[in-house]
């Protein structure tokens, strides 16, 4: 589902969003505010996503747990709390 191409695709997507935001921003005295806010938000959110994605792309460590019940992995789970 998600692999190395995701970054490129997402950049294209955010760039397209920015372009649309730039031209579709409502005209008038608040146009600059709309443009700046939409474009900057899009790229900030993208940056955050991209960093998180890249950090997990080739992870160096794997999750470890010692408190798992044997039923957890698909087995029948006993009734009661699961938290």
């Amino acid at each position: 589902m998600a692999n190395g191409w995701s970054i490129i695709i997402s950049i294209i997507f955010v760039a397209a969003f920015s372009a649309v935001a730039w031209f579709a921003s409502p005209k008038g005295e608040n146009q600059t505010i709309w443009r700046s806010t939409l474009v900057l938000s899009a790229w900030s959110c993208w940056l955050m996503w991209a960093i998180t994605f890249l950090a997990q792309w080739h992870p160096l460590i794997v999750p470890e747990r010692t408190d798992l019940r044997s039923q957890y992995n698909g087995g029948p789970s006993p009734s009661g709390s699961r938290f």
């Binding site: 589902m1 998600a2 692999n3 190395g4 995701s6 005295e29 608040n30 146009q31 600059t32 505010i33 700046s36 806010t37 900057l40 938000s41 900030s44 959110c45 940056l47 955050m48 996503w49 960093i51 998180t52 994605f53 890249l54 950090a55 997990q56 792309w57 080739h58 992870p59 160096l60 460590i61 794997v62 999750p63 470890e64 747990r65 010692t66 408190d67 798992l68 019940r69 044997s70 957890y72 992995n73 009661g80 709390s81 938290f83």
Partner: protein, 859 residues
Amino acid sequence: MGKDTLFRSADMTLTQLYVANEIGREVVSALGELGSMQFRDLNPDTSAFQRTFTQEIRRLDNVERQLNYFRSQIEKNDIPMRSLYEFDNRMAAPSATEIDELADRSQGLEQRVQSLNESYETLKKRETELTEWRWVLREAGGFFDHARGQTEEIRQSIDSSDDAPLLRDVENANGSAEQGGHQQSFSVMNIGFVAGVIPRERMAAFERILWRTLRGNLYMNQSEIPDAIIDPEKNEEIHKNVFVIFAHGKEIIAKIRKISESLGADIYNVDENSELRRDQIHEVNSRLQDLSNVLGNTKRTLDAELTQIGRSLAAWMIVIKKEKSVYQTLNRFSYDPARKTLVAEAWCPTNSLGLIKSTLQDVNDRAGLTVPTIVNQIETSKTPPTYNKTNKFTLGFQTIIDAYGTAKYTEVNPGLPTIVTFPFLFAVMFGDFGHGFIMALAAAAMIYWEKPLARGKQDELFGMAFYGRYIMLMMGVFSMYTGLIYCDAFSKELSLFPSMWEWEYPADYKPGMKVEAKRVEGYTYPFGLDWRWHDTENDLLFSNSYKMKLSIIMGWAHMTYSLLWSYVNARHFKSPIDIFGNFIPGMIFFQSIFGYLVFCIIYKWSIDWYAINQPPPGLLNMLIYMFLKPGTVTEPLYSGQGTLQVILVLVALVQVPILLFLKPFYLRWEHNRARAKGYRGIGETTTVSAVDQADDEHEAGANGRPSFADSDFDGGAMITQDMNEGEHEEFEFSEVMIHQVIHTIEFCLNCVSHTASYLRLWALSLAHQQLSTVLWKMTLKNAFAFSGITGIIMIFIFFSVWFCLTIAVLVVMEGTSAMLHSLRLHWVEAMSKHFIGEGIPFEPFSFEAMLEDEMTELK
């Protein structure tokens, strides 16, 4: 002329207005409604008392005082007042006659209210006195009855030696009362008495003083009045005691009277004859009855009067305040007696000029004057004020910037990007979907009920939150986003997509054994952090490395972005030297060290180190050894790394002398070249002789406004008279050099320290996440251990505790802390890269702003 945006402060024009004297008031009033002109004071040397309209202002001050008096009376009597908002706020400017009427009316009303008040107070005082007298009569009667039985005893004790216990308890005396019954009069025994009331807290002092001054030659009885007595002057309740003092000898009695009066006691006439006393009581009672009737009438009249006033008081206040500010503004104008016109100078946004002109035309037409009001634009070398037009959404963000400093006229306004970057950096630290949702919800509620909330009274804390409600909304929304990225909602995971990790159980699995996850081949978790990391043994190991790198990259992006604005500023102010001497070397320096670090972080992430069978290099050591041992790389990241790093370090080092010397030496060269050609700065004073200078000063002092003195009224006149106010600086090489040295050192060191400073993003987000995990574990998680009806109760109790603590600690406290850190990142780390500042804020003459400041108490 472009339109005014938040990107830069608006273009300003200095205008000169020539207003016919007759309509000065109307013109200023119309401009006050418009609220887009900042009038300069044209009579700075004139004191407040010597100005033209001092008389009018004094009169209005008096009316304002009267209105304030009405308000205090209305508040004192708890009479409802019609709120400010029930009136149309944009009331048309009242005519001069209306103002006169209002002044007369309030004068009359004041007298009426005052006389009513006075008589009410007198009556009230009378009533208090009568009540006190009644108490004295009633209590003293008891004393007399007791005392009469003991005349002999009293006599003895008064006659006997000074150590006799005269000041005995009433109780003591009670024991031997009733036994006598001989109707021996006090006057026969030459015993006089004083009766009265005194505040209870002074009783002890009163007793002591009497005892000491009279050396015990007295007999005193006292009792407490059970009901509090109301002091009519202060409207306070006071507890008082009745006392009766017996002593013999006229002098001693006179002395007692004096002492009593000086201690604030009220002495009342009581007859010793019980019959007469009864009559007195009757009389007092009937007088009290009459008095309370009159009092009731007076009070009703007063209340009716005040209710009538309260209905329109807020509107009168607005009218008077507006009128007063109009005259205060008129006082800033200068008067041209020859043409009978008022002359004003004002800054206004260039784009509002049209509106101003049409407004003035309207006023003229209404007044039916043939002489038009003239608006001239004047060229000036003065620095125009900085004016960023805001709306209710951008106001909060602009306030953040203005709290740090006013931007230079037309420099890039950091307020625009702050709309996003401030709440976003906040959200990086506050990232939790649940907490963000609560914050967004609170902000949305404040925005939805904006009007009623704005009109209500707000305490300080709520007022602050309400002022920043749009900031809070953005912070909440972005926190929800970063919460999704961090995969945290109230510290629990959000499993939006299938995980990229599968638990791999060993064949002989028993609970308690360590289980490692195995990656699903070729699949990366598509959005945010994988939820399988939650509650693992090594989640901190992973998330710390991730969040630390996130902070560095975020900081790098934010600083690079901010640094780019300095290029835009240099272009705008047409100073290429700032591009070549500051922006380019600075940018190269920053990118060759920290840009390279960011590149390495991303490069390292994009390589599958296990697939290519190489150990992943530590980036921290790489950066350190890049400077300590240039050229040697112990754990290679890519081939040719050593050479590239040497080049980068050299490039960075070369920028330092460029930063240091290019700009100052260029400026000196430019200055010398201009000098060589014989130019000099406007207003630069070159004193040829002392006489010349004195002459200059004389001329400036004589008319103060040379541009008028020559009656040269064409719009192109250059105003240069205030040049020596320090707006022009003479070139001095040493100063420029010192300035540049400081700038260079600061910039280079700050590149390092500011990048490190962004690590607070990691630290705070770690703290926030850990705190919410701990809160969950300490409260709500425990509730799930119970079952049955106890379980239900426990869940209810623990949920309330958990929820309240979540709001108080995690949303309010942590939110405040994250907000302050975000504030710092903007003020220090980002704004230091491009902000010039030193601007003058634009403070237009506006009724709206003035009323907002002054009428808060009328809400």
